[in-house]
Amino acid sequence: MAAKLNLSGPPDSDTSSPNDQSVSSRSSNRSLRVADKERRKNEADDPFVLALKYFSDVEAGTPVYGNDDVERNMVLVEKVAYSKGLSPETISIMLEFAMSLRMGTILCPRVLKCLIPATVVPQEAVVRAFVWLGVGKIPVSTQILFIKWVLTVFDMIDAKDQLRAIYGFIFSFVTEENLCPFICHLLYLLTRKESVRVFRVRKLLELQSKLGRQPFLLNLLSLYKVFCPELVTLSIPSRIKSVFRNHNMPWRSALIAVQKRDGSQAASSISLASTIQDKTNPRKRKHCHLVLPALCSVVNKEAQIEPSSSRKVVPLVQLHSFDQLLENMHRIELPAQMGSLLGSSLALQYLDCVQDESALLRLNFWLGYALHEEFLFCGDGGASQNSEEALQFLNKLLSTQHFLQEGFSSSEAFLYKFLNVWDGSLLRPQILGLLSNIPVIPSSQIRLLLFEPLMQLFFTSSLFFKCGLMECLNNMLLKWLTWHSVYALEDDLDISLNSHTSINMTLSGFKDSVMELVDFVGRLASVGLQLEGCHSLLLSFILDFYETVCDTFLKYGLPLVVIPPTGVFYPALFASDPVSVDRLAYIMYRYKVNLTSAKSQEKEQAFHISRQTFREFNHYATVMVNCLWNSKMFQPGMGIQLGEELLLKSNVPQYWASFDLVHHPAFMSYAVDFHQKCWPGRKDMDLNSIKHSKPWSWYLEYLFSQGYDGLKQFVQSNISRQKAAGDGQGNSLST
């Protein structure tokens, strides 16, 4: 309140430092003064103001035990803290009181625990508290508590410049073994390029040799490495076991409760009671909200006013157009709450084009933490009353990833964990959407991370889940292939995927991963079709996938051709709907085009397509031609063989012709229709008469005119009809 008034006041009040915003210095505006008077009068009676006065004035050495005043005042402050949160001034007073140990060390933790900010935390107070930390009388447990508090309210500290100024001072605490993890986390949040120095790196490495490869040290070092790769020569594993722990125990829930109440004015005595209960049982968490914070500036007001400042920074919130973004690209100050970036397209554009990886690191850190807290570590076991919030959050995340055209590594890590406890229906569209965005996984890990959990889900879930997963895997493959075609380097040996996470993969590694994925989908598809009785909806999704697979060489420049398994080929060939057969024909046609083109380029471009692949394709093509065209089903050497006696026993007349284009269950109705149109006068229907040379070509024309382009392309590319119709040739791709 005071700060706001100050801002809108006359210019001369701007020059006064924020610390002495004494009420009397504002004197020009008469009505303001009257209001102030009013307020002061009220405040004089307010026991809370008295309590604060007590804490700011109390003399050092006052005993705690048997002191009713301090107890009464403490309870007052706590009550306000848990109901409304404390104002910035109050936080300054209480923090100063606690850290100066004016009444000994006993009260200190209690005060720290109730420091719940209503709006912001003044930076000066935190800096002063750090100074007190250096005095060295505070017990270690309290010191840890204080740093945990700073970490919890970090986003609410109104500016970070002074904190960054004492970076070196904060860094000096890193040598204290108990404080080290927390200090590292804080430094992680404060680090900028200029804070990375040789001696600090050396100190951290020294600590690492003493304490072992601790994740907190590794994380800080990895950030240093991002800023100054020349200073940190240490090799850092691409996947670090665990990022910083959450230090939110006493404050988080109360903080959220206070913020929530601020947001929705439905404050009631019930929620007050529940927050106090939370306090007594700190392990119980409340659902923290997934509402994205608004993009807001953290830059100190003075910094903006001061024109002489050599390093003038511009907060993102002040930029409104892409042009402004371009002009100020070099001096952008990121917001304290990285989550707010997700909501702003300008911020995302910045993220996308800027080389500075710290922004992405911070965003990933925040995101990973939020996802973990909300979906894997729920306070109420997942009875999410806020599923609407969760839904919006994930949708936002999805649209961000679509905008950036890549997934975040933290959402990837989250998915691997989430898949292991997923029931297959919770937030299904969102989860499958996120899943399709994950970058290429090395083939050594793909099985464990992805295939095992997905397989269990696939075979125990409903048909619709199966279709959804097929679509998701198709999208995943499409994205991988697109990445490949965009990022593949000239020499075709090394591709760097996902520019930001800098996963480098060799071409053969990438091929292995794609192969694994296609094989996996092949297995899922074969058995899935079998279990679902070759359901045509599922078949359609599977054919979608193979439409992607058959074009890997020509469309995406990947020298890899994978032929579908028999479990997919035959159900599609013998499907009862003509669309599936047509699509299969199209897929086979594309395979042929890809393989012929690969064969002709193989010599000059030094890659190799296995002869086995050609053999498999030729086999399928022969089967298709024999079955649809030549009426030679069940001949020896084909995929399906049945004993002669068995076939005779079945009493099917002309069983060898039962799947040609006339008798195939998918096309029978067309044949009948054609027959009626061709010979309107005939009473008895003889479908075999279509097979004579002339009607046969008319029949084909008729089928193609119905929109079966796949079939048309297949026939035109595989069957040469110079001779009499019905004497088609098998495919002529030699091996």
Binding site: R239, A413, F459, S461, S462
Partner: protein
Amino acid sequence: MSLLKPFSKLPGLCTANILLVESEEQFQQSLADALVEETAVTVNVRLAKSLPLPMENEESRPRIDLVVFIINLTSELSFQSAEASLKYLDPGYFLGKVCFMVTNARNASVPTERLDAVRKLAASLNCPLLFAEDQTPDGVTNATERLLTILKVAAGLVPMATALYLSNLTRCTVPPDIDQPSFD
């Protein structure tokens, strides 16, 4: 005290029988209500707190096609009870006619060791391990659908598939020890 045997009785026509075992008796009732809604086949649901089943209904009890152990991860007792019940099943059941269903897996108060223990148990018995969201109606519907998928196969109602075949595809594998960033 008797072993429950998978093939000691004749199956009914177009009938599938499922036994839900849950020591807390919370989730099984809502699951049972949803399971009997199935119209394509007759589904008989039997509920039990733990195994062995009492002797008195032995005669009238139909052949059980699928035994589901429901484990609430927030309770150690729930896990222990399921573990103790396992030994009253004929080994034949473990060829695809047993599955575990776990609730509350995403709860903050669940120690990771317990989830690991359940995984190990399911993996050692080659049984599928399903996760369920028991607190939302959608979660219950989905859990029901998944159980029905397994049940129909286990009861022999799906052509070209047997319980053993399916369980070979869906069985729980060794607990993943993934070297990846975690946030706890």
